[in-house]
Symmetry: C2
Subunit: 218 residues, 2 copies
DNA sequence: AATTTAATTTGTCATTCGATAAATAAGCAA
DNA sequence: TTGCTTATTTATCGAATGACAAATTAAATT
């Protein structure tokens, strides 16, 4: 159980975390705290959760809103995986397969209580990073899906129409809202996430084929 | 422009609203206020919007949380229309038609900034009325849709399976999330609500037919 | 061990919060 | 008008809030 504090001739293990590591620890716990209590909750409540006094927070963050910005950054930016887009664009596999894989890994990243609640809280606050996230989803996920679909259906490679993007959004939103029901409202019925995703994609692909093959509609 | 205050031999028009009418006016403005600012916002801010002083609120409502309960009631309960369910069950029309009509009138009722924001705020607070609303949607909308679908597809009339309800939830949630994007995130692309709904229902019906005709899957 | 540096706490501030009591103003009935 | 009732404001309480300065403790360095 016990480990030597340090090997011979090595620098002694610091008893404290580095300033940066401690800061990160504060941010991680702040994610949990604000996700549960909302961003209006007090810095004293957070300090209590951290086991420190409230003024200490101001040693690590200039203000409450700076701390909140770091929380946003840790949740929105750092949990986004760049490999998601190439996964969707891998034409060696049928699009339905790619969609199933993608939505399983994507929801593995975002279907947790902290992420979901922070997303909803920040959306209600109307913060800019929320808007940027929605644009990221559109550009890196939804529009690539439409481009891949046109290729798979043998249709000409023209840019997606707005109402087509909207159609992908509805599928995406349906899956997303399943996560909201599961993790926020705790009212999901089936917890078989893979099955829910597979069914949503089946309907989406069927609907998309109908939709894309009606060129006379705007 | 000017009107006589009262006709002869009629009781004089009261210069003040009745106590109950004033109370209702306060509730209606409180809906706007809390929808925009969140339930954590101060009673002083609300009083300012009402053009009265803050202690006056305590003449009409015993406490802030009582006022909030009245807001919930006005939004969740009083805006629910009982005729929605019979509309879905009207077998003289094809189910896809009924779904289109229903989702157009349903979204007319709930796709407004106040309703949406109050729903999201209360969901994050985990209040009981939110849970009850989700059950209402399931029992009065989603399960009836599944029953009607089985009839239309000529399938035996057995109770809906959980994963089937989940499938309807995903369609419902996709449409709902379109409203969230439009009214909360203000990131909706197309504002042609009817079209978005029609496309969602096309995909849903196609997917549902596939799903219900695979009896060997649980 | 002595000294320096960084981490943390104590104490406190001005402001804002929900709520109450008492004073005032406005409408109504006689 | 006069008196009564209700509506509204003024003044205030205690608690909680974000933030700051100074004092204290603990670790690291010499």
């Amino acid at each position: 159980m016990t480990q030597p504090d340090t090997a011979p001739n090595e620098p002694p293990k610091p008893k404290r975390l580095s300033s940066e590591a401690r800061r990160q620890d504060f941010i991680n716990q702040a994610i949990e705290f604000f996700a549960e209590e909302g961003f209006e909750s007090s810095t004293r409540g957070l300090a209590k959760k951290l086991g420190v006094t409230q003024p200490l927070l101001y040693r690590y963050f200039p203000s409450k809103s700076d701390l909140i910005s770091e929380v946003y950054d840790a949740v929105y930016v750092k949990r986004w995986q760049p490999e998601w887009e190439p996964l969707l664009r891998d034409r060696s596999r049928p699009l339905a397969d790619r969609l199933n894989t993608f939505y399983n890994v994507y929801t593995n990243a975002i279907f947790n209580r902290e992420w979901m609640r922070i997303f909803l809280f920040s959306g209600l606050k109307g913060v800019d990073i929320n808007r940027r996230y929605m644009q990221l989803v559109r550009q890196r996920i939804l529009e690539p899906i439409l481009i891949e679909a046109r290729v798979e259906f043998g249709l000409p490679d023209i840019p997606p129409k707005d109402c087509e993007v909207e159609f992908v959004w509805v599928m995406h939103g349906g899956i997303f809202y399943y996560g909201v029901r599961d993790l926020i409202y705790e009212s999901a019925i089936s917890t078989d996430k893979e099955r829910v995703i597979a069914d949503a994609i089946t309907a989406f692909m069927a609907g998309l084929e109908i939709k894309l093959n009606r060129p006379y509609q705007t």
